[in-house]
Structure formats: structure tokens, C-alpha cells
């Protein structure tokens, strides 16, 4: 049984993904499916809320890397918020802050997205 789940919420044109549990090579496909669903629904302003993410391995980080360029080419972004310190350390270890907007809170992340033209 998987101990990882993705919850979907939205705030205006921004799709929020609430990650819960442990993200490893077994559960990374669930995050991948969630991001693919966003793309299918033309939701490219994606905010990852990591407040309940307890663990991430390189397989999980790899999902973010695999989709960030596509999402940006479509005019959107993946922003990451509210990571637990031990999880942030892993992102930091691989230099993710250089490539991704990683901020302390969901509110900060929401403020960093462009306003909707709709």
C-alpha cells in the first residue's frame, strides 16, 4: 500500500497540489500522474504544497525536473512551498533552489505567480 497521496485544490488560476507522505521510486509515478493531469486540464500554474511531505528521494525530485521545462514553455511554472526542513535539505543538496522557486509558505508562492489574464 502506498503511503503517498496528492490532493488537488485551486486558488484562482493556480492549481495547488498537496503532497502527503513519502515520495520515492515507488510513489513518484503518482506525482507524475498528478502533474500530467494538470497539463491535460491546461493548468500550468502549479503550486506544490509540501507541508505534509515527510520524505523525498531523487526519484521524486526527478519528476519535478522532468516537467519544469514543459510547464514553463507552456507559460506556467511549478513553485514549491512550505517544505519541512529535512525535505528542503534534500532539494538544497542538489541545487534545486537554482532552478525552482522554493518559498516558505503557500501565501508567498501564490503571490509569486503572474495574475490571471482571464
Amino acid at each position: 500500500m502506498s503511503n503517498f497521496s496528492v490532493g488537488f485544490r485551486s486558488s484562482g488560476h493556480i492549481q495547488i497540489l498537496d503532497l502527503k507522505g513519502e515520495l520515492d521510486a515507488h510513489t513518484a509515478s503518482e506525482l507524475e500522474a498528478a502533474i500530467q493531469k494538470c497539463q491535460r486540464d491546461n493548468l500550468v500554474h502549479i503550486l506544490i504544497n509540501g507541508s505534509n511531505l515527510m520524505y523525498i528521494s531523487s526519484a521524486g525530485l526527478g519528476v519535478f525536473m522532468a516537467y519544469i521545462e514543459e510547464v514553463r514553455e507552456a507559460g506556467g511554472d511549478i513553485k514549491i512551498a512550505a517544505l519541512q526542513p529535512k525535505v528542503f535539505n534534500v532539494f538544497d543538496l542538489l541545487g534545486f533552489p537554482m532552478l525552482f522557486d522554493i518559498v516558505d509558505s503557500e501565501v508567498d508562492a501564490l503571490g509569486k505567480f503572474e495574475p490571471s489574464n482571464a
Partner: protein, 132 residues
């Protein structure tokens, strides 16, 4: 412990490492680092050494002494070839839409020593964490 080569057992491996590293007196941050390094090593065995084939054995043993903790991961798959391993570059990886290849990099960053051996038909990966 021995697990079959499937990613669904990674969680059990992490629990195994956590239990023994905590018992050995390592602090929480160091336990997290060891847990992740062993997860990455086992993931590499499943995906590369056994090429995704499930049901093959992976042995994980933990050896503790007053100076260090050593995790030994053994498998019977294809030997890891260090010569073909290239350190990944994050920006290039994102541009090329690749998603893997960071496991070995992480193992080396998190542990004090990572060593590979091949003998008796087994591949062994030895990962050492010194006590502070």
C-alpha cells in the same frame, strides 16, 4: 534483511535503516541522510543492476562499531560500471527532460565513503558513515 527487487519494499528498507541508526546513537539529521543514501542505492540496484526485473534478492546489512556505521547492499545483477558514470548537471538535466541519474551523486554527498566491490557473483555497495 533481504527484500525482493521491487520499489514497493523501499519503505521497509528505510524503516530498517532508521531503526538501527537510531539504536546506534546517530542524530536525526544523520539518520535521515543514511536512510536516503540506502534508498538511492537500493533503487539503483532495482532499476539498473536488475534492470527493473522484480523478485530478485537484495540483501541489506548494517554493521555498527564504536567509530562508524557501515551499510552493505548486495545483489546478483549487472555490475555497476563507474567508468560510464557521469556526474549529472542539474540545469542540463532539466533542459533534456531527463529525470534520473542523481542517486549515486546523492549517495556520495550523504555518506563519508561509498565503495563498490564485485566478488563471488555478488555486487556489493558499502556505504560508511563515521561517528562525529
Amino acid at each position: 534483511m533481504t527484500i525482493p527487487s521491487s520499489t514497493r519494499f523501499l519503505e521497509e528498507v528505510r524503516e530498517f535503516v532508521t531503526t538501527h541508526a537510531v539504536q546506534a546513537g546517530f542524530n536525526e539529521m544523520t539518520v535521515e541522510q543514511m536512510k536516503m543514501a540506502v534508498d538511492e542505492a537500493c533503487t539503483n540496484v532495482i532499476e539498473h543492476s536488475y534492470r527493473g526485473q522484480s523478485g530478485q534478492p537484495i540483501d541489506i546489512s548494517i554493521h555498527v562499531d564504536p567509530e562508524k556505521l557501515v551499510v552493505v547492499i548486495r545483489d546478483k545483477g549487472t555490475e555497476f560500471d563507474r567508468k560510464t558514470y557521469v556526474e549529472p548537471d542539474l540545469v542540463q538535466f532539466a533542459k533534456s527532460k531527463k529525470s534520473g541519474g542523481f542517486g549515486v551523486h546523492i549517495m556520495h554527498k550523504l555518506m563519508d565513503a561509498v565503495e563498490y566491490r564485485h566478488h563471488g557473483g555478488f555486487n556489493e555497495c558499502l556505504m560508511t558513515k563515521m561517528r562525529a
